[in-house]
């Protein structure tokens, strides 16, 4: 029995066809992906195990059942509001929620708790795009659709490592370019990412200088007389004042004049141009202005709302758009209603029958946790997100939660960093268990459907919210029988007294039957009751305007103490806090440990050393990766690691908490930091069949095939002392084969029981330890008498050194790929034919292309 559902990772929103046993493939009928899946999506079936799941409600750390847990939340909210007012309570929710959950949470907070203190982790992700859209279109409208990316003759990717972060979209782009090689691709990113591999032009601009670049482009188009009907004199004048010519742009952006000129010429010569942007634009203290500067170019030059001509925000999360539709953010009401638009508040209060509807916007994410820290907010319910790790200056968020009178957390994972602060823990449904809708980056509403039973006592988030609401006396407003009821209410609200006032209108679905809801296929909004609406928005009926913006530098400044700039982001095979992807061995094969990428000329540390990355906010300890794709003076670290896998690898502890003044989105990509050697006296690894967190002062856990856990370890002691301590801690017997080279600081030991290898520990003075893959594969296997000691070599005799995994779909490493290239494979397709690399999800094709560029192909 196949179930059509939607991938829970990025905002591309790919359709998935899944079986109850977890086997799955891309949905050929879904318009987002037409059957494609990326490495993460293809491995979804491997994330469905119940290991590490929170399966029962807990009250003060003890299993409680649902009744007492819900009672406690209702009592805490009731009492806190009674004593300190409605704004002393808050909800903090997630782009992982389904639209129905989001709707319930927003209605509960704003309508019935009477506070707009409900924000979503979308604040960390999409808020600047939302603010920019609202300035340009009067509403949070993404004007384009995915087809525009394929129709564009010039595609500009700004602040987006699309190849890794939205891989299926990137594969669509690559395919379109292959079909018409005249189509150009420009990548604008301080880093030379995998996305740059296929680009015609990469502009490695100074971080945060995007406004200058697009103001310069606007001036250039004005100079050429290319501005059209929507051109706004004030906005153009501001752009010209800031960036009068190419030379000023090159200086402001630290780019070569020739590169800037080429980009501007291409844009001016190409009517069908699309600018796609993502977190490099949004996560900035001038994020809204960056979005506006991009939109100004497209609006002003009339490249908006047409096939192949638009600006395009791609969302990070599967349902960021759904959260915006339901208004589950502190500065939105619901269904694109606005506090500052006359009549909207009354309209919503009437629709919800909620006389206590919050009167003004609430606290945005960073403000919210500051307010918790100041004890202005005293009770918080966190649903589907992990702010103890994900907020900037995360240590401060943890301190705030630790001091908070009441914390409830609805979670899937029992290992969330936030869960430890919860007085009430509620087990949530995971992907494959929950049922509802999500909206992707191109406004496509798709169903996420359950294909597995709810495990343990896990229940839907909307149900838990409705139960608490009922306990607080609002049962009538939350009497839904299922998600279809909520969806109908949401759809009805979108059309309620709309009359064309709001583009977001899905009222044609307001009367959808349960059966039709169950069968609902991908449906793009708007879809008003009045009849079909165009797929592309803006430039037509919607108000479209330019807003004057000027460049301003990022908030944080480097100085002698903090001379480097830290950028953070995603890596190819991980998702957010790794609660799912971090358990999948083949996804951990690409990058197993938290790292900091640094230009080799900036760093005396060797590749593989551990470095402390410290800011005024906090510090993390990360593996050094030399990367000539980094600009000098700039670092990059992945956002993903939580305490569950590497307590010292939490980069958001380092990130400063400057926010965009309009959107409230934090500046995750620009923190002044110091980079220093972490004083490790020893490095090591342990391979074992159980995970042992915090074995060492620095410890990263990496899931390996066959239930094996790789522990990467380091500490300040001398190797001999560390080895002795670990041997004792692990209770390794005197009979275990061991290698001791005390002078070199090299110690190794293997535990063999009944002829089966159970555990291997290697300790050395430097990070240059043998490759782990072969040994990891030996854990749990029989050891021949003659090879007992040889295991401590870490490799079979005469083996070629292991090389990095590139294609995780087919398990192809870089040695195999370079071998194929050396044997004559001269393009990505030929490498695929020879090795199968890149023929699965395609996410690794940029890396194969990079290898092709490095390895000479025989003539």
């Amino acid at each position: 029995m196949s179930i059509r559902t939607t991938c829970p990772y990025c905002g591309v929103g790919c359709g998935v066809v899944a079986q109850p046993d977890g086997t799955l493939h891309g949905d050929p009928a879904h318009p987002a992906n037409a059957g494609r899946l990326c490495s993460k999506g293809a491995a979804l079936g491997e994330t469905l195990g119940l290991e590490g799941r929170l399966l029962e409600p807990h009250l003060d750390g003890a299993r409680s059942g649902w009744g007492p847990a819900l009672d406690r939340i209702a009592a805490a909210f009731t009492n806190t509001i009674a004593r300190h007012g409605p704004n002393s309570v808050a909800l903090y929710v997630s782009g992982q929620l389904l639209t129905e959950d989001y709707y319930a949470a927003n209605k509960f907070a704003k309508g019935f708790l009477g506070t707009a203190n409900i924000d979503s982790n979308s604040r960390l992700c999409m808020a600047s795009a939302v603010a920019g859209h609202r300035r340009a279109f009067g509403e949070d409208i993404v004007p384009g659709i995915y087809d525009d990316l394929e129709a564009a003759d010039l595609l500009i990717l700004v602040g987006s490592n699309t190849a890794w972060c939205h891989p299926v979209l990137y594969q669509r782009i690559v395919a379109a370019r292959a079909a018409d090689p005249a189509r150009r691709l420009v990548v604008i990113d301080p880093r030379r990412t995998a996305t740059c591999q296929d680009a015609d032009l990469h502009l490695p601009l100074r971080p945060g200088s995007d406004v200058a670049l697009f103001c310069g482009l606007l001036s250039h188009l004005a100079d050429l007389g290319q501005l059209g009907a929507y051109a706004d004199g004030e906005a153009v004048a501001a752009a010209r004042a800031a960036m009068p010519d190419i030379a000023s742009v090159a200086t402001a952006c630290d780019l070569a004049q020739g590169d800037v000129a080429r980009f501007f010429d291409w844009f001016a010569a190409t009517p069908r141009a699309v600018t796609l942007f993502s977190q490099g634009v949004n996560q900035s203290s001038s994020g809204t202005d960056k979005v506006t500067a991009i939109l100004n170019v497209h609006v002003g030059s009339n490249r908006i709302g047409k096939p192949g001509a638009t600006a395009f925000s791609v969302t990070g999360q599967p349902n960021a758009m759904g959260g915006r539709e339901t208004g589950a953010l502190a500065n939105m009401l619901a269904a694109h209603l606005e506090w500052d638009r006359p009549g909207d508040h009354a309209l919503l209060a009437q629709f919800w029958q909620a006389p206590g509807l919050a009167l003004r916007p609430g606290l945005k994410a960073v403000e919210l946790f500051d307010a918790i820290g100041r004890r202005e907010v005293r009770a918080v319910w966190i649903i589907g997100t992990n702010p103890a790790f994900s907020l900037p200056r995360a240590a401060a968020a943890r301190a705030a939660l630790a001091a908070c009178d009441f914390v409830a957390v609805s979670e899937v994972s029992a290992n969330s960093d936030t869960l430890g602060f919860a007085h009430v823990q509620l087990p949530a449904l995971g992907w494959g268990e929950k049922d509802g809708t999500v909206t992707n980056s191109e406004r496509m509403i798709s169903r996420q459907r359950a294909f597995r039973p709810a495990p343990g006592q896990a229940r839907a988030d909307w149900w838990a919210i409705a139960q608490v609401a009922a306990r607080m006396g609002h049962g009538a407003a939350f009497s839904w029988r299922g998600p279809a009821d909520i969806f109908r209410e949401h759809a009805a609200l979108s059309g309620f007294r709309n009359d064309g006032a709001r583009v977001f209108d899905i009222s044609s679905l307001a009367a959808i039957s349960d059966a039709a809801y169950d069968a609902l296929g991908p449906t793009r909004w708007p879809c008003p009751a009045e009849g079909p609406a165009p797929a592309r928005l803006a430039g037509g009926a919607a108000p479209t305007r330019m807003v004057a913006v000027s460049p301003r530098p990022p908030a944080g400044r480097t100085d002698a103490e903090f001379p480097f700039l830290l950028n953070t982001g995603r890596i190819r095979d991980q998702w957010h806090g790794m609660t799912r992807t971090g358990l999948v061995p083949r996804l951990m094969a690409h990058v197993g440990e938290p790292f900091v990428a640094v230009h080799p000329d900036d760093c005396a540390l060797i590749d593989g050393a551990l470095a402390r990355v410290g800011s005024r906010e906090g510090a993390a300890v990360l593996r050094v990766r030399h990367d000539r794709g980094q600009r000098r003076g700039e670092l990059f670290a992945p956002m993903h690691w939580t305490a569950a896998l590497c307590a010292q690898g939490r980069i958001n502890d380092v990130v400063n908490d400057f926010v965009d003044p309009l959107s409230g989105q934090p500046e995750f990509k620009h923190t002044p930091v110091a980079l220093s050697p972490w004083p490790a006296g020893w490095f090591g690894f342990l391979l074992a069949d159980t995970a042992r967190p915090s074995l060492a002062p620095w410890c990263a856990l990496i899931a390996q095939p066959g239930g094996v856990w790789r522990h990467e370890l380091a500490g300040p002691e001398q190797p001999e002392a560390a080895f002795a301590r670990l041997v004792e801690r692990l209770d390794l017997p005197a009979s275990a084969p061991r290698l001791c080279d005390a002078h070199a600081g090299r110690f190794r030991i293997a535990l063999i029981r009944q002829g089966i290898l159970r555990m291997v520990l290697f300790v050395g003075p430097a990070p240059l330890l043998p490759a782990r893959d072969w040994l990891a594969g030996r854990i749990g296997t029989a050891v021949a008498p003659g090879e007992r000691a040889a295991l401590l070599a870490g490799a079979p005799p005469g083996a070629a050194a292991a090389s990095a995994s590139v294609c995780i779909c087919h398990g192809v490493d870089s040695a195999a790929i370079t071998g194929a290239i050396a044997a004559g494979a001269d393009d990505v397709a030929a490498v695929g034919a020879a090795t199968r690399a890149g023929t699965g999800c395609g996410s690794c094709r940029p890396e194969i292309a990079a290898l092709l560029a490095r390895v000479p192909v025989p003539a």
Binding site: R738, L739, C740, D741, A742, H743, A744, I752, A789, A793
Partner: protein
Amino acid sequence: MQTTNSATTLIIGAGPAGMRCAETLARAGRRVVLIGDEASPPYDRVALSRWLADEITQADLITHDPARLAALGISFHGGSRVTAIDPARHQVATADGGVIGYDTLVLATGSRAIRLALPGAQLANVLLYRTLDDVRAMIDATGDGGRAIVIGGGLLGLEAAAGLAARGMAVTVLHAVDRLMERQLDQRASRRLSGHLAARGITIIENAASSAILGEDRACGVVLDDGRVLPAELVVMAVGIAPEASLARAAGLLVARGIVVDGQMRSSRNDIFAIGECAEFQGQCVGLVLPALAQAEIAARAICGEAATWQPATDSAALKVAGAPVWSAGLVECADGEQITLDDPDGAYRRLLLRQDRLVGAVLFGETADAAWYMRLIRDCAPIGALRETLPFGPAYQEAAP
């Protein structure tokens, strides 16, 4: 090395070194006379332990039977003991009253086994472990099983103990210090060896100082200085060897511990050479067969007028005791050395000793297949460098495995 010189080279001692020198010279066309005090034709002394352990027969020991000697043109006098050398007359006297002249003399008199000066040490069934006759006597003594005491837990003592045990005797090894084979093995390998021998029924008593051998005309036990009495039907002394240099000393040659030679194995007289265990070069006497054979060839080439020079090399010792391969080479202790141990208590053990980035010593227990590779590293004395990490795992782990 072809020559038609008809001058005679006389070689005293038909052990492995003397025999090798004789054969090398004979193949070069020299006239060679070889005198040995043992009656047997030249035999493989190293293989005596295998005969004792009943793995081969006495006949298997013989390396050069009379026919082969004749074919080589070597004039062999077995069972003939030289009593004096007259360097001025270029002749030697033998116990049977004969006189043999020479143009060049090679002393290959080897070592004699040390007999401890204990009360009772001269009793009939207190044997040494050196010659074919010694081993013949030991084998004869094992006929009825019974108890044997081996005094000395070095290489030879343990070979003797293992051989006697293999022939059904209950063997006790008395060792004067706290670990077996202390000159070749470190503490841990020695422990492993003790455990291995104990598991095969050989009793090891360490720190055992023998004070007397009991018995009227035949030994019946050993008394230790702590008063313990250990009954035995056979006592074997394997407490060491001393270079046999008495002839040379009497002839006025320069003798220290052994007969002092230069790099061409020439003694203090130009026409007398010394090779093997009786020779001393730069204060060192060799104790193993391979360097003794090398010296034999050096001397032969010098006699033939070739400029060859002896380079002392590191010794190695290989021993197989009751199925436990043990091998060691180079230094065992070294004050400024660094050691690498690879220890599997249920399997093999290896310990490598490095000094100034050179491998200077190696001990292998349980698995000795890589011995030759370590031997070469010790001899080459080349910097180990990046090899260090994989050094304990042997040549199979080297990039360009030799």
